[in-house]
């Protein structure tokens, strides 16, 4: 079992950001899981979701997968591969640096990504990660 919800807030040193066009202010880990496993492809207003992540080997990505999505990174890879090679979806856009992450989220309508708490993105919305229902 992965991190419980009780300790989730303490463990997260990562914040989730969306582009300013996205009409959502808070998401549960289950909803984030649907989005980052590429099964949720549109925001409620119909705008396509553009998911951006750091590369799988990046410690921040591994922490995000385990502590926020409550998935091991190898599970995420498995789910993305299943979607890609059975025609059901695409893998997320991958970036190498915080600068690229910031730029992608702020310039792509519908984008969602994550950053360390030490960094902020001024021209993007911060998502409050609330506990599952």
């Amino acid at each position: 079992m992965l991190a419980s919800n009780v300790s989730l807030a303490q463990q997260i040193s990562i914040q989730v950001y969306v582009n300013q066009t996205v009409p959502v202010t808070d998401l549960t880990p289950a909803q984030l899981r649907r989005i980052f496993t590429m099964r949720q492809t549109q925001w409620p207003n119909g705008e396509p979701i553009k998911v951006v992540v750091f590369k799988s080997q990046d410690p921040l990505h591994q922490q995000f997968a385990k502590n926020v999505l409550q998935l091991f990174p190898y599970q995420l890879e498995r789910i993305w591969n299943r979607l890609i090679y059975s025609g059901q979806g695409e893998r997320p856009v991958e970036v190498d640096s915080s600068v690229q992450m910031q730029r992608f989220i702020s310039t792509h309508p519908g984008a969602i990504g994550y950053m360390p708490v030490t960094d902020t993105i001024n021209d993007a919305h911060l998502i409050h990660v609330r506990e599952d229902k």
């Binding site: 079992m1 949720q40 890609i84 090679y85 229902k133």
Partner: protein
């Protein structure tokens, strides 16, 4: 093949008009394999290169709600299934409901089998748990029947207070070439099998805050056989009904997975006018993977199938055939050990060894090649290198 050409033409047209909107992916894999005392791969039992899988896929977002997606593959698995190119899938994907806690997609066209743990990507080597999949569930002679159905599929998911639910439903039929008939019936069959319909439904549940996944799947398929010229078989019908359970648990350093099935197969006529056969087979596997690090995993698996749950030794079939078909054609148990090594990004090597008792999962199915495939025990090894993009 005409459908394959149509699909490739369609992608080329789309590619020329909207190249920047297309997503491309593919894979290529080549291996060596040997099943010395069995015709599972080839008749002579020599080391074989008939372990080739190549695929290319593309998807195009026509609108926010509508996507077109297709994949063509070339497969060569020796005697396991007919070799050659196939249109693996080509379907429209309509996002009908896209709420944050509730989604529904409708697929129309040729879609994959979404219902089992590995069926959607069984030909994509780097996504598989092993080179040769557990034959109790993923019987290679049925590969073309289990996949690539033309029809309609629904995929839904729902987040609840208890956890996440995924459900799948599909209805359609599978195009079966004559070569497939001979794989199932043997070389004396000159007629043609048709799949009248294939109906599947599955439900998966992941409890909240866990990495445990459980699923159930039911299948109902009907087939007919039309006699050919100088045919050893006559017109007949067959039906297949399956119930399956799917389980998986993932931990940081290890995973365990299992799929279990009971299958009822009914044959009518086919051999002679009053012929009727109604049997229940049972089988399944358990696989344990240990993750040594991000690049290396080792695995062990036990896979077992009995073709008649009321006569697990196969003795009844031996008696009915007048001793021609040995009892060890009534079951197949396979113990496997292997290793996955992802030695570079997008590159992987898999090696495995199988020790097998019984011959119940060899093609052809109806009348096995009992003259050449003899002996209760046999073994097999395989090594395959794979690249994907």
């Amino acid at each position: 093949m005409s459908k394959l050409r149509l699909a490739l033409s369609l992608f080329m047209v789309i590619n020329m008009t909207q190249a920047e909107e297309i997503n491309w992916h593919g894979f290529i894999a080549q291996g060596l394999i040997q099943a010395k005392d069995s015709s599972f791969i080839n008749k002579d039992g020599d080391i074989s290169t008939e372990l080739t899988e190549v695929g290319i896929n593309a998807s195009y977002q026509l609108s926010p709600e509508l996507r077109l997606s297709g994949q063509a593959v070339y497969l060569n698995g020796g005697n396991r299934y007919p070799d050659g190119a196939r249109l693996d899938y080509l379907f429209f994907d309509w996002s009908a409901i896209t709420e944050l806690d509730w989604q529904l997609n409708v697929h129309i066209g040729r879609y994959k089998n979404y219902h089992w743990l590995f069926s959607a990507t069984r030909d994509v080597p780097h996504t598989r748990p092993s080179i040769i999949l557990p034959q109790s569930i993923y019987f290679d002679a049925f590969r073309d029947i289990a996949l690539g159905t033309d029809g309609i599929a629904l995929k839904g998911s729902y987040n609840s207070q208890a956890g996440e639910f995924d459900f799948n439903w599909s209805y359609g039929s599978t195009d079966m070439p004559h070569q497939q008939t001979q794989y199932l019936f043997g070389e004396f069959a000159t007629g043609q099998i048709s799949n009248e319909y294939d109906h599947k439904a599955s439900l998966y549940f992941r409890p909240l805050d866990t990495t445990f996944l459980a699923g159930i799947n039911v299948i109902d398929s009907r087939f007919s056989y039309q006699q050919g010229a100088n045919d050893a078989f006559m017109d007949g019908k067959a039906s297949v009904q399956r119930v399956m359970l799917h389980l998986r648990y993932d931990s940081l350093n290890w995973s365990i997975m299992s799929e279990l099935m009971q299958e009822r197969v009914v044959y009518d006529q086919l051999l002679y006018p009053t012929f009727h056969s109604d049997t229940f087979s049972q089988g399944g596997y358990v696989q344990f993977n240990y993750h040594h690090n991000d690049a290396v995993q080792s695995f062990v698996r036990l896979d077992m199938v009995d073709l008649d749950k009321d006569n697990r030794s196969g003795s009844q079939r031996e008696q009915l055939s007048g001793g021609l078909i040995p009892s060890y054609y009534g079951f197949m148990d396979d113990a496997v050990a292997g290793l996955h090594w992802q030695f570079a990004t997008d590159w992987k090597l898999t090696m495995e060894y199988h020790k097998i008792k019984g011959r119940g999962r060899l093609a052809p199915v109806i009348i096995p090649d009992f003259a050449n495939d003899t002996g209760k025990y046999w073994d097999m090894w395989a090594a395959q290198i794979m690249y994907w993009f």
